[in-house]
């Protein structure tokens, strides 16, 4: 078991000791810690080994995204002579050849390292947009209910009526124009319905809880109830699905760019780093597709591990363990 955890509840600290008259003295030694929810969550997160592994991989990828383009900048004209059809296999000759080259002689390492920035940026920005819309719409629908709920949920149904990938691909093909900002907007404006449903469901149940009733009875304003009382209680699942959305968007962008409907060829993302690599598979070139894809897979695994860790950590009912 853990050392005694004292939870801090509005100025009352539970202690293991006995308070005697004539001054607070304890009759046995206890280690006392007063932890708020955030510290408790962090403590639970730290105990999850997979979550820590995931976080370190993720931080490594973030570091690659930030430093990669500085240390190994991508230059379209920086190509080595291709000695083998399909591209040179990985070799330890120099840093740029350890992942081999593509059929044009571009270094796969440079492509992979430079793709990180755009892929992660698209993943994170899309998620920010989708979460903002999803939480707003789901929150309004769940808190106010009634006709607002009806209208907004029909809107959700409408967006979900056509399979997501169809709309995303059509929009990216006809309106994307290879611009990462437009790609982010397309993804973000289409990815929110799942979150909206989640937030709505949580708000519907939170709305009926006693502490919300109490807050309302005291005369707290709606916006304060939403932001101060209800949202913090819903934050766990929102954070978890947001992290999964980052991972999902990275994969989505990779597929869209792989098909050449996504980011333009002059920018590098993990997706267009390996687009056109399918044609060289039959020539024995596995490394071109392998390494950028591996970067995607590692990042997604890392985010999924972190998401799982956060799910357990942010659940206030999962104590200890």
């Amino acid at each position: 078991m853990d050392p005694i955890q004292a939870t801090h509840v509005e100025g009352i600290t539970q202690t293991g000791g006995v308070v005697e008259a004539g001054g607070p003295t304890t009759d046995f030694e206890v280690s006392l810690e007063s932890l708020n929810q955030r510290q408790l969550a962090w403590r639970r997160f730290k105990r999850n080994r997979l979550a820590l592994i995931g976080s370190s991989i993720f931080l490594f990828m973030v570091a690659v995204a930030i430093l990669g383009p500085v240390l190994l900048p991508y230059d379209r004209l920086d190509i080595t002579a291709v000695k083998k059809p399909g591209g040179n296999p990985p070799s330890l000759e120099s840093i740029k050849t350890i992942f081999g080259t593509d059929n044009l002689g571009r270094s796969v390492l440079v492509l992979t390292v430079n793709g990180a920035r755009l892929s992660m940026l698209i993943g994170v920005m899309t998620t920010i947009i989708a979460v903002s819309i999803g939480v707003t719409i789901g929150g309004i629908a769940g808190f106010f209910g009634g006709w607002a709920d009806g209208v907004l949920m029909r809107l959700v149904d409408l967006v979900l009526a056509v399979p997501f990938l169809f709309i995303v691909l059509v929009a990216a093909r006809f309106f994307g124009g290879g611009d990462p900002i437009i790609i982010i907007l397309i993804f973000g404006l289409l990815a929110w319905p799942g979150l909206a449903r989640l937030v709505r469901a949580m708000f519907l149940s939170l709305r009926e809880q006693d502490f919300v009733l109490a807050a309302r009875a005291v005369g707290v304003s709606n916006s304060r109830i939403i932001f101060k009382h209800m949202l913090p209680n819903a934050i766990g699942p929102i954070v978890v699905s947001a992290s999964l959305l980052v991972a999902g968007t990275i994969v989505l962008e990779a597929f869209v760019s792989f098909l050449n409907f996504g980011v333009r060829a002059t920018d590098v993302s993990w997706g267009n780093a390996l687009s056109n690599s399918q044609g060289t598979l039959v020539q024995g070139n596995w490394w071109w597709a392998f390494f950028p894809g591996m970067a995607i897979a590692l990042t997604v695994i890392a985010i999924n591990f972190m998401g799982d860790g956060m799910r357990d950590a942010l659940d206030p009912y999962s104590r200890g363990r």
Binding site: D157, L158, A161, V162, P163, F164, L165, F166, I167, L169, V170, A171, R173, F174, F175, A247, V251, A254, F255, F258, L259, F261, L274, S277, Q278, L281, V282, G284, W286, A289, F290, G293, I296, A297, V300, I301, N304, F305
Partner: protein, 369 residues
């Protein structure tokens, strides 16, 4: 039950209309638009272009009324041979949106007229009927493999919780759940087709020996050598199938495990064990049946992902189905094929969800409609 079914079916109508409207506007706002695309097509004859411009009320105007008219003509509600309010009526005098036998018209998607492919001049509906069986075959096989493997893995993992199998399957599920589908496909192609030469790289049949799948010629060839056809399609289907179901099996085996564990901790399972029922009976009859309920719902909810997966998989493996048709027509800006694929697939998913709901009602006797 019957009443519920009809109510749900009616509830699908607004959603289906939404699908049609969304498809229409995607086509409208795409650069160039259908009118220009048709006129630029080298594969369509002038008579064909005339016919569709007229049938779909395409006049090249951008006003709201003109757009609404275009929608009406394209959907088959309006008959643009007539002017004004008469456009609602067909040549036969009946309301235009009715089937032809009831006095309706014959234009628009309501009457099965999806237009012609701009890329090759063929009728859209013909292309789709050629492509649909391949997708249904792949998706059906995928659904079967997906559900049965997820069930088997999940149940074994739950029954032997924290055992070796459980830990191994948990680990693998984590990995496979995170792999990008298209990349998994590429890696499988390289390893099993290019490197080991065990399986073909792509396609559904060997194009040198077999006519294209879905064509009448293929039907004749199958008649001559049915076993050969099964073997041919089977070997071509292995890799796409793995690619398509890997993510779903990974996710759902965990889900089955959790659902099964939930049930195994229930009192009635303990009672069954205590009264001396054989493990097979406890797990099979008492536990699994109840653990299936959330699984059925989940599979129903995941059906759209099967479509997304099919787009990815069919593109990578050049499987001649709806998914690769979608990507192909997207590349060629073949609007009419594109919209038909989106509409038909969306309608199928809406309907499949309805079926999943009904199955849920059958599996769970507590559900009252």
């Amino acid at each position: 039950m019957g009443k519920y079914f009809i109510r749900r079916l009616l509830g699908l109508i607004p959603l289906f209309i939404a699908v049609v409207v969304i498809s229409f506007f995607l086509m409208q706002f795409a650069p160039g638009g259908p009118e220009q695309a048709m006129k630029e097509s080298k594969k369509l004859t002038n008579a064909q272009i005339e016919r569709w411009l007229n049938a779909w009320c395409l006049e090249g105007e951008d006003s709201i009324v003109a757009t609404a008219k275009e929608f009406g003509g394209w959907a088959g509600i309006l008959n643009c041979n007539n002017d004004g309010w008469n456009a609602f009526f067909s040549e036969q005098g009946g309301l235009n949106f009715l089937p032809r036998t009831l006095g309706g018209g014959d234009n628009g998607i309501l009457h099965g007229d999806f237009g012609r492919s701009i890329a090759n001049g063929r009728e859209v509906l013909g292309i789709i009927t050629e492509r649909l069986p391949a997708t249904l075959l792949l998706a059906g096989a995928a659904l079967f493999v997906w559900v049965s493997l997820a069930l088997v893995i999940g149940v074994i993992a739950a029954v032997r919780q924290y055992g070796k199998f459980d830990q191994a399957s948990t680990f693998l599920a984590y990995i496979f759940y995170s792999l990008p589908t298209f990349w998994l496909g590429l890696m499988l192609i390289f390893f099993f087709a290019v490197y080991l030469h065990w399986l073909p790289t792509s396609g559904m049949v060997n194009a040198r020996e077999w006519p294209p799948f879905g064509t009448p010629d293929f039907g004749v060839a199958v008649g001559k050598d049915p076993l050969g056809a099964i073997k041919e399609i089977g070997t071509h289907m292995v890799l796409p199938l793995i690619t398509l179901v890997a993510v779903n099996i990974a996710g759902d085996s965990r889900f089955v495990r959790a659902s099964m564990l939930d049930v195994l901790n229930q009192d009635y399972v303990r009672t069954a064990k205590a009264k001396g029922a054989a493990p097979r009976r406890v797990y099979g009859r008492h536990a699994l049946r109840n653990a299936l309920l959330p699984v059925v719902t989940n599979v129903g909810l995941e059906l759209p992902f099967l479509v997304a997966g099919a787009i990815v998989t069919e593109t990578i493996f050049v499987w001649p189905g709806m998914g690769s048709l979608f990507i192909q027509s997207l590349r060629e800006s073949d609007y009419f094929v594109l919209m038909a694929v989106i509409m038909i697939t969306s309608a199928m998913i809406l309907f499949a969800n309805l079926i999943a709901d009904l199955v849920y009602g059958i599996v769970d006797p507590r559900i009252r409609y």
